[in-house]
Symmetry: C2
Subunit: 313 residues, 2 copies
Amino acid sequence: MANIRDIARLAGVSVTTVSRVINNQPYVSAEKVSAVKEAMKKYNYHRNINAVHLSRGKTHLIGVVIPFSNHPYFGLLIEGIANAALDHNYKVVLIQTNYEKAKEMEALKMLEDKQIDALIICSRISSWDVIESYLAHGPIILCEDSRNEKISSTFIDHYKAFTLALDYLYEKGHRQIGYSIGRQTGTNSTQRERAYKDFLSKHSLPFEINHIFTDRFHVEDGVDVVESLLKMQHRPTALLVTSDQVAAGIVTSIRERGLSVPKDLAIMSFDNQPISKVMHITTLEIPLVVTGKKLFQQALTVKKLHMKKSTSV
Amino acid sequence: MANIRDIARLAGVSVTTVSRVINNQPYVSAEKVSAVKEAMKKYNYHRNINAVHLSRGKTHLIGVVIPFSNHPYFGLLIEGIANAALDHNYKVVLIQTNYEKAKEMEALKMLEDKQIDALIICSRISSWDVIESYLAHGPIILCEDSRNEKISSTFIDHYKAFTLALDYLYEKGHRQIGYSIGRQTGTNSTQRERAYKDFLSKHSLPFEINHIFTDRFHVEDGVDVVESLLKMQHRPTALLVTSDQVAAGIVTSIRERGLSVPKDLAIMSFDNQPISKVMHITTLEIPLVVTGKKLFQQALTVKKLHMKKSTSV
DNA sequence: TCTTGCTTTGAAACGCGTTTCATATCATAC
DNA sequence: GTATGATATGAAACGCGTTTCAAAGCAAGA
């Protein structure tokens, strides 16, 4: 395999000149350009990208941490990130954690090792402190409200979204509203809980712990929720569901049992994925693809400016 | 930032020795090991991974080409690949093509540039020839039947799966069976078409072009299918659907119109994703996660053996 | 005592493109 | 005619870890 020095020799120029030709830089005469290009073609030259990375000190790779790939929520986020990345000539390195801390640490280590230029964490497990300590090695962008922290983020204002949804249901006459979320802990869940409790106290409504369902991610989890509901003495009349998938499961399961939505149970879902349209589930749009795109753009910007930045969607 | 030479100097040893310590190689005395480790800690040494890549000539990165991320089919495939990769200390570089040839070419270029050690193409656009020409630069694994080609693959035997499903429906008494697929072209679709035509001629059944639906990928496409069906004079009595998502859309839409599955239209779907269980859709399991894992393992094996290999799932 | 074969250790070469800096040339400006 | 600034070009330094090869030390076996 020919390297840049071989090409330089064969074209009768210096390596600097070859480098200039490769990178389309000015200050090379037309003859030399063609001489170099010819030599490159003749010897089927391909620059060693790892040498470029070493020399330049960056890789044009961007790490993306997600818990799992088979979930539409993260699928859409990735969709946005990946498209934006490719448009800017960046590539995405996927780090799937299954919510294992060690895997997330590997991603942070990649940043430390300069294997990736920046890191986007779509769902975090490590503590703020840990992540903060890696900030020195490169930009880290989170997809959750980090306004109180030193880390940049593009996030969805789940407090607002939840409040909006709750108010909507309240206006429809619902006084016993429950909700179903994914992880119990985490910034997003905390904010939703806060919105929920604020809503309850605003309207002097009682808090019912068993109207809250946690760890519901997939369609089939919706079936479980319905089963639990049916066993209850005092059922909620409406449910906020933080995933169209789970909502689809709930709605399917309910209808199957001869009950009706929203008469027997009103459902208000989030994300606005195709399935909710098909199943006529009321859903609040969360612009995930756009968020993905912003996350990426922020990774670029933060890198250049070395400053913290947070955007709410 | 301290580099390996700094550490060598500070620990009073040679760079070779430091390298040995870093890589846990034998033939270093206990004292020197600790001296080096101390120096590394003291100066917060981190090896430059790009120098490692350059030196070793590989990156422990594996490229994965998919058309889009927001589809459960590819989500599951990625899930399998990503998990297997992480277990083997490889990282996944995601190349999302949106079925644009140029994007797929970028992936092939990455292989040529040695930016990735191997490439898995989950859904191909380029011709066999093009892909074959990149085979010299590293292992390429496809997820489609490549038994007639020079390229390795782990693939699902869609001919068999389709035949199985058709026979099942035939036994149930169906004589007018249609199908819905994703892309019209491609090995997988061709094989299904072959299975379908073979089935028809085996039972001397007529071919009805409008009983075939193409370019159906997502839930909402199922609704379209139902609309088309309802406009038909001679409707099929059963439909093979190559995606649980689309099947879910079809079933939902049909039930909504007061018709019943399977009485008015029998549905046989593929993949066996949670949604089909929730909606009680008959589905033929396609082990996508396992396929993903095999694809990865094959990428490793082929690399070592430099030989073609194909596995059917 | 001598040979054989590990165990240790390090100098130097290797992988390879980018970038800085100095030098040289040529043309336009005053 | 000289100064000024752009254009053109290359030598050498830089980024940095791995690996080969030679050499030295030491112990067990003959």
